[in-house]
């Protein structure tokens, strides 16, 4: 960040203006991209945490006036200091910038800005005055000169955008404070509509999302993060419970362009839904007889009831999307034919193949040896994958492994074990899920790894494992497990389930299709445009990223839809202004874990009532009951509404 000449970001002052070499450099943690878009230089930043200046020729008075106007424009009007106060501050600043300022203005602006900062209801007003106060403190001469000389400010070129800590890390870019506020205001349908602007699977994400937003919730700085996920579930459930039909309109012209979507998983559904809302004719080709992809296959009913998923797919259908089930690309229809029949193709297949464990006997197809994904798929389709088998050993430490063990109880397997090569602390599965599995009495075997499958008459009878110990940290930062020589032992079992990772099955593509794969054997698609090596073929979801979280698949599915739209309307396929701001803000960091809010908390988050472990482990009924109306409203009322505005000067 050598080219930065001034920064007051996060109260760390760096002033390199003038000749004197400052004794400190720009703050090390300040990450401000050099360019906003190719060729567009970022000369300055004004935002919630201060001012960053890279170029001397930025007129700070002008930028302050524009920033204040942006605050006023974003003010929701729901509190007096922000609604009226920022109007007055903006007016005064505009006067100064127009060369009509009075001597008293800077002092008056300062006083009023402090009141707005301390008295506003949400962060628009609370943070909106911070860069202006910094400007008054650190650039007094600029204001003084503008006033005494009655000089018009140089107008710069600016862009601004609104973000919030939670929003900035949501892979689906949901307007979280808004939909939470709408719940507080009892506008449940409006809240769901807000969510649906970003994802079409509110009920699913409201149950199984890994909720990065909650780790970025400022409320945690005073007590506990808002339960954003459960609030999402509440409004989705509300619509179903109150028998309401969402108003979804997909209006297609007869001659609308056609898009094929491969895979009815989260990425495909999301891409198809938004394309259809834009007016395209979309057909989804799904291999399985039912929708949901990995959301249906990989997530058991007790976490995500089938009815929820189905109702969400119904919404996608209502939006005008045609879904053709049981059509496997490469078998029933060739990929090349699909391309021929459609104006664009979106590949949204999941990573449903199982990664090999690399143990002896793995490739021999013994009865009782079933991959984790296949095991869950069978169960979800209502089958016991291997009714004769009673004892189950699952290998792996991710969510699929946990889902396998917990599902095993629910199809009546009495003895359920999990083998993981590291210790509990390193397990990648959701800690809440691990806790639930422990409560349901899964036998956990940590620090051991299978070495050999034991069989008799072509059936699995056991697995030989070796003890492990933790060595030096590896690339992932976790300590590498190392086998302890001679520590082999046997666990008898009827069923052995490898669940150590998934890979993409790209057998639907032929060499001649020309869709390039990456080194990791995933579809090679551009991270910004989702375009593959073939024109008109786009891809996102697990087939591009490898196994990843649902909320990223839905988010990227929607973004891919926007890119496909650009492609089909003959525009340049590139990142949008919003996406560029997202990148800018996420590099900069919107949430400051160490921030002192200076207010009292005292309102802990509301938890969901849960079935008793002994009762729940025998049923695929949903484990957790949702919020009731008063609880949801109370939870929503905890939101601090941390919207904030970032403005950049461009050169």
């Amino acid at each position: 960040m050598a080219n930065i000449i001034f920064s007051s970001w996060q109260n760390e002052l760096f002033d390199g203006r003038g000749t004197a070499a400052p004794d400190n450099g720009p703050p090390a943690n300040l990450q401000l991209a050099a360019e906003f878009s190719p060729g567009e230089r970022i000369k300055a930043l004004m935002g919630w945490d201060g001012i960053v200046l890279r170029d001397d020729d930025v007129d700070i008075v002008d930028m302050c006036a524009k920033y204040a106007e942006a605050v006023q424009q974003e003010s929701c009007g729901k509190c007096f200091p922000c609604r009226v106060g920022t109007r007055i501050v903006a007016d005064w600043l505009k006067k100064i910038a127009a060369g009509e300022g009075k001597e008293a203005y800077p002092g008056k602006i300062r006083d009023l800005a402090l009141s707005i900062r301390d008295g506003s209801k949400c962060s628009i007003g609370q943070t909106g005055m911070i860069p202006i106060l910094d400007a008054l403190d650190y650039f007094p001469q600029a204001f003084a000169a503008a006033i005494t000389e009655q000089k018009k400010a140089r107008e710069g070129r600016y862009r601004f955008s609104v973000t919030a800590p939670c929003v900035s890390v949501c892979p689906s870019n949901l307007d979280i404070p808004r939909y939470v506020e709408e719940i507080r205001e009892q506008r449940f349908a409006a809240s769901l509509a807000t969510i649906r602007q970003g994802v079409c699977m509110a009920g699913t994400l409201g149950r199984v999302c890994i909720h990065p937003c909650e780790s970025n919730c400022r409320r945690a700085n005073i007590d506990e993060a808002i339960s954003i996920k459960w609030l999402k579930r509440y409004v989705a459930d509300y619509e179903m419970e109150k028998n309401r039909h969402p108003e979804i309109q997909g209006h297609h012209h007869k001659d609308a362009k056609k898009v094929a979507v491969i895979g009815a998983g989260p990425a495909g559904l999301s891409c198809a839904y938004y394309l259809s809302l834009m007016g395209y004719r979309v057909t989804i080709f799904e291999k399985l007889p039912e929708p949901g992809g990995m959301a249906a296959v990989g997530i058991p009913d007790y976490r995500l009831p089938r009815a929820i998923l189905h109702s969400e797919v119904e919404i996608v259908r209502e939006a005008g999307v045609e879904i053709r089930y049981g059509v496997e690309i490469g078998k029933e229809i060739k990929f090349a034919d699909i391309r021929k029949d459609h104006d664009a193709v979106f590949i949204g297949v999941g990573a449903q193949g199982s990664s090999p464990m690399g143990v002896e006997g793995e490739e021999k197809n013994y009865r009782g040896f079933i991959s984790g994904v296949q095991y869950l798929l069978d169960i979800n389709l209502g089958r016991d994958p291997y009714p004769e088998g009673k004892k189950v050993v699952v290998v792996g430490g991710g969510n699929v492994a946990i889902d396998c063990v917990r599902s095993s109880f629910r199809i009546g397997k009495p003895d359920v074990n999990l083998v993981y090569r590291r210790s509990k602390a390193e397990m990648p599965a959701d800690p809440a899920e691990i806790k639930d599995a422990e409560e349901e009495k899964v036998n956990f075997h940590y620090l051991c790894n299978p070495t050999k499958i034991l069989e008799k008459d072509g059936k699995v009878v056991g697995v030989e494992c070796i003890r492990m110990e933790l060595g030096e940290p590896d690339q992932s930062g976790r300590r590498r497990p190392v086998p302890v020589p001679g520590s082999e032992f046997v666990i008898e079992t009827d069923i052995l389930i490898p669940a150590i990772g998934q890979k993409v099955d790209y057998s639907f593509l032929e060499e001649a299709d020309g869709v390039k794969l990456s080194k990791r054997k995933t579809v090679d698609a551009d991270g910004e445009t989702f375009a593959t090596s073939q024109a008109g073929v786009f891809a996102s979801g697990d087939c591009v990223t490898g196994p990843d979280v649902l909320v990223r698949a839905t988010g990227n599915g929607k973004r891919a839809a926007e890119k496909i739209d650009l492609f089909l309307t003959g525009n340049k396929v590139e990142a949008s202004i919003d996406e560029r701001f997202r990148t800018l803000f996420s590099t900069l960091g919107v949430y400051n874990k160490k921030e002192q809010l200076g207010v009292i908390g005292g309102r802990k988050r509301a938890h969901l009532p849960m079935l008793d472990p002994e009762e729940r482990k025998r049923t695929f009924e949903e484990v957790e009951a949702g919020y009731t109306t008063p609880v949801a409203q109370g939870e929503a009322a905890r939101c601090l509404r941390c919207y904030r505005i970032g403005m950049i000067a461009l050169g």
């Binding site: 729901k78 007096f80 200091p81 007055i88 301390d118 507080r184």
Partner: protein, 862 residues
């Protein structure tokens, strides 16, 4: 309980309270503008900021929880400076037009600016007046006066359960504007809670400010919920507005459109002032003394001839008036007293008596219910406050709501299950629910000891399979869902109204279900009372007849009609024929009514604002009717003198009648619990809270206090429960449609003089959840509705006319299409007769000679 200190004073409060609540409990005042006890905190005004020791920033006390051990400061230089700054900002965007503002003298901003010594306004910013229409023409929005506190929006959502208004625009451009959903029901909750003069009542041309008005707390004269309201009276005679800002039970600060805006009949120029005789169609003024004489002599003469004397009394008359009539009637050997209260409340009382259910309940207990059934009750048209209470249960208790109604209604938007029952088949639905309770062994075991249990169980569970007919036209899935919400729920409640009582079997089936569920012991059985004093009328009048029965009783020759108009709810031809048979008819009412055209003598009565007395509301509480306007209570005085002249006792004052009613066991004094006085300003005379029980009921509950509730009786279904009742359209029947008449028993004083004459068409595009609004009955041209499915079937486009034929008549009317109506059902809002110059009410009443809310009809396109 937690402890904290506020301004050095130790406060002990419950966990979960806010600092503001804790401070108020401790007698520490913190200035507020947007905060209101009835609403969740809004936190827009920022005036209630406080400091907490150890925390850097000021916090709004209305949203910050009181936490154990904290030390709060409510007054400091810093806080005062900020508050003054915020007030300055408020006044920057608020015109100082106090001299012409309705709210002058009782405006929160005025008070706060004064208290904080704001003398100059330091800022200036010009606000643009967008001059947008408000959500209802009954209310005027003064955008520039609006401080955007947000109370109105919050009240609309939280109290009324609507989304009629919202903040539009951002920043300084923000203002309140109607939403696009046409969701307004003109309940005026927004108006009521506006702390400044930004929302004013647009009805009365004169307003009268606080110091120019007298305010009297009284009872609402319309439905039977029993709202308290405050009349703002100018010059001792003109009601200029109704206010409800004081926190009086049972409605607290809420009212509905009728309570808040339905008062102009009292001021109306057509009010009768003098008695007159009709001789050969000619009006002849008579002196009051003469009128008394004519009445007494005619009644005595006819009685002397062995003829019967009939009285029809309004269930909106006071207890005192009804009592006097019952005394007068008692002086004649052969007399009967009728009232339109008999059609609903009378039937409920009879069923309660028969089944031994004690009718006492409290509105507050709705809030503790977890599952609430609302059956056959359109709570938008009548008892709207009950809908608010149900919403409170949802809001505070997460209650689930089951609506049993063929039509969309006030609560169908938030209903978890809407059972669209075929009109008249509610019995089947409740029997189906009872059957499931019995089969699942989920009924209250004590019910086994009740008479009739064995028979009921036998009748309901005889068949192994649930007959498909038993669902009453309700989708099986919905019935399952409703049952699922009820099965294990101990805290359930049932609210019902005329949709149920119109059919004796429905009422019996509903009450059987209640007893099986044990709701008479724990839970709630709540009939809505349709008229302000329906419960009073039914309690006071013994053996109450129905008006149609009485009119058609050929033995009755002399008729005295008190503030009722049978033409309002009965078949006109039938009434006219019956009246032609009477030798003498006297009518006492405050405005000209249809029945007066057939009477021999007309006597002026007085409006509720001139009366002193009491109503018994639907919850059995006696609520005072207070004299707010000058002028005598002409009707009451006439009755008192008539009683005297006929040789009865003369009552000198109301208290004498009250003690007489207590002596008779109709009123029961419940200590001297007083209603809470209002917050400053208006002065109220607190009334004694009495509990009313009809004599029989009281006798029953007295003897059954030890036995109750085991003393209840289950009614065996009269017909085979598995057969559809007679009312069901049979195969091949020509009249396959059911016409449902809405608002049959609205106050007929509103009828001739609609409470608003503002004639805009406000019928917006409603979503499926809020299919209609009361407003539409006032402002919409649409009064008759059918489902889109039926419209498609009959190839009827919106606005086209249909011919509706019944056994007794036919009518042609334009029809509107409304989603959510059950197929095969037509809905008609009777509203006021004179809309568009076409009397829809009498046209519709002509379709059935028998008084009925549901009429079998055929429908065809014309």
């Amino acid at each position: 309980m937690i402890r904290l200190t506020i301004d050095g004073k130790e406060i002990v409060t419950e966990e979960g309270k806010t600092i503001l609540e804790a401070a108020r409990e401790g007698g520490i005042a913190i200035p507020t503008l947007c905060y209101h006890e009835q609403l969740s905190p809004i936190a827009s005004c920022r005036l209630c900021i406080v400091e907490v020791e150890g925390y850097e920033k000021p916090m709004t006390s209305c949203t910050t929880p009181a936490v154990e051990g904290i030390s709060v400061i409510t007054r400091s230089d810093r806080l005062l400076k900020l508050r003054r700054e915020f007030l300055n900002l408020i006044l920057t965007a608020h015109p100082l037009d106090c001299p012409q503002c309705d709210k002058g003298g009782e405006c929160r901003v005025q008070e706060l600016a004064y208290e904080h010594g704001i003398e100059t306004i330091e800022y200036a910013a010009l606000r643009k007046d967008h001059k947008e229409a408000y959500a209802t023409p009954l209310i005027r929005y003064w955008q520039l006066r609006c401080v955007l506190c947000g109370r109105c929006v919050q009240a609309c959502r939280e109290v009324a359960g609507r989304a009629a208004i919202d903040i539009k625009g951002r920043g300084f451009e923000a203002r309140i504007a109607p939403t696009e959903n046409g969701d307004c029901i003109s309940c005026g909750e927004c108006l009521s809670l506006c702390p400044v003069g930004a929302l004013t009542e647009a009805l009365s041309p004169i307003k009268g400010r606080i110091w120019q008005s007298e305010r009297t707390d009284t009872a609402c004269p319309h439905c039977g919920f029993g709202c308290r309201l405050t009349l703002n009276v100018i010059d001792g005679k003109i009601i200029s507005k109704v206010i409800s800002e004081t926190n009086l039970p049972p409605n607290n600060a809420s009212l509905c459109i009728r309570g808040r805006f339905g008062y102009d009949f009292a001021n109306h120029e057509a009010r009768l002032t003098e008695p007159f005789q009709r001789i050969a169609g000619e009006k002849k003024r008579v002196e009051r003394e003469e009128a008394l004489k004519i009445t007494a002599e005619n009644l005595q003469r006819l009685s002397g001839l062995g003829k019967g004397i009939g009285f029809i009394v309004s269930p909106r008359a006071t207890n005192e008036e009804i009592f006097l009539i019952s005394r007068i009637a008692a002086l004649f050997k052969n007399s009967r007293v009728a009232s339109s209260a008999s059609y609903h409340t009378g039937k409920v009382a009879a069923a309660f008596r028969q089944m031994g259910i004690s009718p006492g309940y409290r509105y507050d207990s709705i809030r503790t219910c977890k599952t609430i059934i609302v059956a056959g009750a359109d709570l938008l048209v009548n008892n709207h406050l009950l809908a608010n209470k149900v919403r409170e249960a949802v809001k505070f208790n997460g209650a689930r709501v089951i609506v049993v109604d063929p039509l969309p209604c006030a609560l169908s938007g938030i209903a978890d299950a809407h059972l669209k029952v075929t009109p008249g088949q509610d019995a089947l639905v409740f029997n189906a629910l009872s059957r499931r309770l019995l089969l699942d062994d989920k009924y209250d075991k004590e019910a086994e000891t009740l008479d009739g249990f064995v028979e009921l169980r036998q009748a309901l569970t005889a068949d192994h399979e649930e007959p498909s007919l038993m669902s009453g036209g309700v989708e099986a899935e919905m019935l399952d869902k409703a049952y699922g919400l009820l099965r294990d729920e101990g805290d359930a409640g049932v609210i019902f109204a005329s949709g149920i009582t119109g059919n004796a079997e429905s009422l019996a089936a509903l009450l059987n279900f209640c007893l099986l569920k044990g709701l008479h012991k724990r839970g709630l059985i709540m009939p809505a009372a349709l008229q302000a004093n329906a419960v009073g009328a039914v309690s006071i009048v013994k053996d109450m007849a129905s008006p149609d029965e009485l009119l058609c009783d050929s033995n009755i020759s002399g008729l005295f009609i008190y503030e009722e108009d049978p033409f309002h709810y009965l078949n006109g031809e039938m009434v006219q024929n019956a009246l032609g048979q009477k030798a003498f008819i006297a009518v006492c009412d405050l405005l000209p009514t249809a029945v007066m055209d057939f009477s021999h003598l007309v006597l002026p009565s007085s409006s509720f604002a001139e009366k002193e007395g009491a109503f018994i509301s639907g919850d059995g509480i006696v609520r005072a009717v207070r004299k707010a306007c000058r002028g005598t209570a002409a009707g009451y005085a006439f009755l008192n003198e008539l009683l005297d002249r006929l040789g009865g006792k003369r009552y000198d004052n109301q208290a004498e009648i009250t003690s007489e009613l207590q002596r008779l066991g109709i009123l029961k004094e419940e200590g001297d619990a007083q209603e809470a006085p209002g917050i400053g300003k208006a002065r109220f005379k607190a009334s004694k809270k009495c509990r009313a029980l009809s004599a029989e009921c009281q006798a029953l509950s007295a003897q059954s206090s030890a036995l109750s509730p085991q003393h209840c009786v289950l009614l065996s279904p009269q017909h085979s429960v598995l057969c559809p009742p007679k009312d069901t359209p049979a195969q091949g029947e020509t009249r396959k449609y059911r016409l449902i008449l809405r608002d049959l028993f609205m106050n007929h004083h509103l009828l001739s003089f609609p409470c608003s004459s503002v004639g805009t068409n406000h019928h917006g595009g409603h979503d499926a959840a809020s299919q209609h609004s009361v407003l539409s009955t006032y402002f919409s041209k649409d009064l008759l509705f059918m489902s889109p499915e039926d419209a498609a079937l009959l190839q009827i486009a919106a606005g086209e006319s249909v011919c509706i034929e019944s056994a007794d008549g036919a009518v042609t009317r334009p029809v509107a299409i409304k989603a959510g109506i059950k197929t095969g059902v037509l809905e008609c809002f009777l509203g006021d007769t004179l809309r568009q110059g076409v009397p829809i009410r009498s046209e519709m009443l002509a379709l059935s000679l028998r008084p009925s809310k549901v009429i079998a009809v055929s429908v065809r396109k014309v």
